[in-house]
Symmetry: D4
Subunit: 248 residues, 8 copies
């Protein structure tokens, strides 16, 4: 709401054209539920298009349960990432409808199906060890309303595994490339297609991988122009971004 | 071209249904012009949607001139980034139609106008010092066929400067956020809109900025989910990515 | 004691105006109790305003018990940070009056109440996972004689949660801002108020967070001028600093 | 302005108790002057207590001149840090009243004297080479309305130089400690006084100093509790913080 | 296959000189077996001279078992590195012929003996703690068809232990030098012989070793010219490289 | 010379079978010319197969001239790397036969031709900007007696430029791959051939390239097994290593 | 043995003045016992003044036992650092005379007392948590034949604890200063005495301590000139160095 | 002065046994000359054995001149390190007796000769490029009263250059080893002698040398026990330390 709009609103309130409650609703941009240890952002769906998504890591089981219980009452779809098996077993006793995706480490409650666009997202990994991150990306995007094509273990040491799937990749609307070690796969894919690529460096590797730094720096300095990067092992962020683009 | 398609092509050649030259053209996926010091990628437009874009940094004026001269003959549009004023003055003597965008450090030759979609890209900066990177992003995207809205110097130290422009930002198809120092602007914008955000850390700052590392790490670890990141000071990459998304 | 004062003291001793013991007391600036493994700083309260505070991490339970037992005899208030639950259970068998604040990981003995100024300190966190650090800060400051207002989980991904509390924050005398990941909250608060802000980066996050480096660098390079920073996860230091300022 | 206050304001507008323009003024929290390359934050003085301070580094002389010219018309005091001698010589031709503090690299225009509290700020340096940073801190704080005591070249290699000045330091309201190399001075001062200390690491040193990292890390991990830290070489931030505290 | 060869092939297909299936075989460069979680690279032996070697770290036992079971059916020799004792015990129940080399952490199945050249590879370590990496290198090279000479614990603190073995080292075709801590052994050996040296930094050490960085940087900056380097603790890579060179 | 040989030599001296001078020559393993500022290693050719090669960087022109003048008298071939144009112009006045290779920054004197093996070394670069490093590698190897095939500007953004040259690369005895930015080219080539690859990261790039770290880490963590790495921009080391291997 | 001496020795052998066995002994500089996994350096005592000292970390109990058993037969004193309690309990069953110093993590066998010089070494720590490193230094030096004065927990937060012990420190021949966190103690002591100081950074601390980096960098950049530094937590190295100096 | 001594002094003052001025002198431990920009430490010679040594880097010529002029009046020997040629030319106009050592970048005034012990210090460098650092070490130690043996360019690529000088090195009282690149020379020398070694890493090298980090880390993690380390390029610190040890 800019200054002009604000003045207009006030004039209309002054002239009785608008009810106070209507104006109030228009003005109270910001609202949330305070649980003490957490302030649940009720307006995020209006503001950014999706309800708040819970990042479980660093929260106690009690805290996660409390947040999900509150959101469950409000008829929101719920997505909780980095959930442990132990969290799930505890929480499903109270919220039986909750679903656990073990490889993706995601818990979800789906109250209303989200319509999916025709176009799809490809999720490509360099190796077998990148699967947990890939599944976090794929399941996140599926829960946010997207079709997914998975192309796993197609790294550059045997590049024909990629080339044989180039058709399905080229026909995606947006591509997620997930790789550890030297992260070269993002550059290769970037040189072969004309779609936006979201690259996820993983912490797969050892020694000079330094917990994912080698892949992170490689992806940031990629000589292929269509590549942007999210945090190391951040499958969720990649899936969320790809969903934003696929739903434009 | 996958295995099935390949077999079919060969059968058609064998049966005389397709001329050898046609098949040859279909098969010679890869072709380029070798200048000795550079192999110009003639197929990139077909493969990735845009002709090869020249990164001038680290190349001699003679090399840049040679590459542009060759591309100019082929009726391509030409974009050359990180071009110095000295390069431009030298090259325009031989290629008078070349244009220089000094703040963006870009040289361009436009032979055919690219049709622009209705939707636009917003380019936001945290401070005045981020302008060269912002202009590199904006001019790149304009040359690739996009409308741009510029919102400069809207950093978090005076956040109302951002809020007053939130309308134009929300209506973008994709948003580029450019910030140095602590790079917080990307997170703020990410919390307020539901469009994909491409964040560009800049090397603006000193001390613990470490040449852009503070902003880079902040953007990679942003608590706002819709943010992906390109290299420090990489305005070109941001503009290119945003154009890919805006033209989907 | 400067040179002039020293000369005067010596003259008064020489003239018999001052007893030797009085002079001795005035001169013996430095005194401590040596437990072998630790030298307890008895003069710190005189010198810096607070008795020595015990940092339990890296000390054995026996060592912590010995230090507390000695201090307990001297009628000092005792504060011991980074205390484990196991330490507490062992030590309370010998010192029943000791109190444990589990979320803050602090043990305390309060022999004399410290008068609290009217003004208060706000402790703000970006997320739920920052609570242990926040409680270390809040409890430290409370034990040192301060009123605290807690505003938890008000990070920039849902900035209205901050804005709704801006009144209580603006009326603080000093503000502690605690955030992991990209640490942007410190800059936002710094742009909205005119009080000193002590920022605490936390190690909450993963990947390019690098154990708190992303938040640390972001806070050090904040574009908001009123921000100073303490060590990663150093809730104690923030609480101590804020107490110093609130008691000026 | 929280929700209750907002509702009340709207009711008063509706009832005609408040003029629209008055309400508008109350609501238009955010306002600024847009120069294209910069948005000058006119409300910062109201919001944070001081007008916007110009950070000249990375801005062109033309840009700095434009910003100062605008602020000069509004009767604000002006402070511009990291100003070069060349900037000053150019700008004083148009704004003769401008003053340059060469060691501090600060330009200033003082239209209204700021009343100074009785209490003062001490600025201590470890060495002679730290003077530019110290002067940036001292002059910033003086321009913001503070008395300063300078204690320069009092590093730990000759600690009596510090001890001889401990009286004046102890009587400060807040202390700025500036040191490069191993930055030990902050810890020493912190062990001797009970006032808040703002530590500024400098890039003075070589080799394993790594542009100020050694002092920065040392100050962040100081075993003295009353120390908080600003960015490497950030004399301005230290002066600004100290002024905030001294004016509480 | 370059353009000329491609044209010739197509002409021969067109003229019926070559069967379609023959041409297809010639063209289908790329083929693999897709297990879902892994795409086994069946052509790698043709392309790079060795079948795909399994890197077990980060794969589940089930995944490793599945890959080995598939490869075992194809009569390939199998090498699986970074295998745990637990993996081996599980897998040998299904594939009894599998062999485990515990110090080298390698599992292998040898179906066809690889002929060994006369020349040999020396594997030298600086200390006793480097043995696991050394055995990974030595066993890898033995399985790939090479003779090995082991010279263990010959570090520079007692350089005569190296000098007494200099004869056997000089007569190698290629030398692997493995060292942690300061990694000086690679430079010493490099100054004494005229054979290619592959240096492996190890993570043996503590403190400023930083998980192998000290040895890695030392080997990369060696003043001896004949040294090239592989990743920290990468015994496999060193053995593979040495085998490539020894089999030229 | 091991202990047995030593005893035998001494016995032969004792028995008069060997002249003292002969024994002396056999024993004086170590000999050099001391110029004060440099000790020229006259035995290096015997010991490592090549005369000492001069690294000019960090040496004064006078020092380089002195070293070359001494070596020139001994009829050695001379190679001096990282030579500036200014050094060359100064030194050729005294040593007219000296040759300068400007792109490679190498000075050389060739007194005796080194016979070249039939096999050759390929030198591949990712981009045009990598040429100086590539020429340093190529010219070094040529001067040491090798045939070279140059494949420049064949990076992964247009991978067909590589594929079209794969024949000449596969037929090399050893391959040097030179790339900056994300350094992915080494992994790609490593996946396509079965020859030893020496990878040279270059400092070409900006931002998260960090002076070559991104390419260095990528090459060290390459998923292709046949890659070993030399220092950033170390064309000389790559050429020297490749020559060692090509001359086995 | 230089060239002249070598010639003389050979002449004397030739003339029968020296027995072959005598010459052999003089020449066989290098000798060791090869246990397969370790080459025990029997000449180290002659060469460097002390027998080889065993670094247990990274060695198996079997390997440590084998090395000690061999050395025990040769009547050497034995020192084994970084020994675990488990190692000791296992080995004392076979070598009952072995002694374990638990805080120092050192095992030792003393066959012959080493005469101690009158002068002594001071070992100073900043905190209680630095004790294990301090004891490693102190016990090492005691076993190598030195008197030790321990001054523990004398850090800069309460500097009078140091000042009260300055007499005993000043009278040392060499001083070891051990500190974690910001490591300032080394600089303070260096400013107060004129004896060589060996500084040991410890990994005590958290956050920006980064495993000892803050103390390491601080000690390396100390503004006190008489400070040299050993590796993080390297109590052994400090004790060994101090012993070398104390026994000059 | 400890407590007992202090009490005794006060009693004697009280009893008139000691004059007030005598007591004052005994008590005024700390004294210095304040030049405003510098506090010259007049007591350092008494306290640490040498007058204050001026570190010119980061000081203006005026400041250096002022400090030297003051010290020159007090009949002290003067040492000023990191002095530029320009500084020297300016200052010798006012202080003609000043001497400049250009390679060492040291200015000195010698008023009283310091008696030199019989024992000497060896200064060894790995390469020719390390000379400036070596000369800083050597000249510093000479000015502080020591004999020096220089062994330059004796690095591990031609280790016989070191071995031929091992006699003179072994007979030193203390050894300074100076090396850049991989810094292996310190470990080699440490394995051959039983004297304390002060290692100086230099910034000589490129790429993964990272301004001296490779040599610094290598020296800190040296497997030779008798090595301690000073800052990168810190020839002065090495010379000062060696002098302390040589004069014990």
């Amino acid at each position: 709401m800019n200054r002009t709009e604000l003045k207009k609103l006030l004039e209309e309130v002054s002239q009785g054209k608008i009810e106070i409650d209507t104006a109030l609703a228009a003005l109270e941009d910001f609202s949330f539920k305070d649980l003490g240890y957490a302030k649940i952002d009720n307006q995020r769906e209006i503001r950014t298009g999706y309800p708040e998504i819970i990042f479980c890591s660093g929260k106690s089981i009690e805290q996660v349960k409390g947040i999900i219980a509150y959101m469950n009452k409000r008829d929101s779809n719920v997505i909780a990432t980095r959930a442990t098996d132990e969290m799930y077993r505890e929480i499903k006793q109270f919220i039986p409808g909750i679903v656990y995706h073990p490889e993706a480490r995601i818990m979800s409650i789906t109250k209303k199906e989200i319509p999916k666009p025709e176009s799809y997202i490809s999720v490509i990994t360099a190796g077998t060890s990148d699967l947990p991150v890939a599944e976090e990306a794929a399941v996140t995007a599926e829960l946010l309303g997207n079709r997914i094509e998975r192309v796993y273990d197609a790294g550059v040491a045997g590049i024909h595994r990629l080339v044989d799937n180039i058709g399905v990749i080229r026909d995606s609307r947006v591509v997620i490339v997930i790789a550890g070690m030297e992260g070269a796969l993002a550059s290769i894919v970037g040189g072969l297609i004309n779609k936006p690529i979201i690259a996820v460096p993983t912490s797969i590797g050892y020694g000079a991988n330094f917990g994912g730094i080698s892949a992170l720096l490689a992806m940031l300095t990629s000589c292929s122009a269509g590549v942007s990067v999210v945090n190391i092992d951040n499958g969720f962020g990649a899936g969320f971004n790809a969903s934003l683009i696929n739903n434009l």
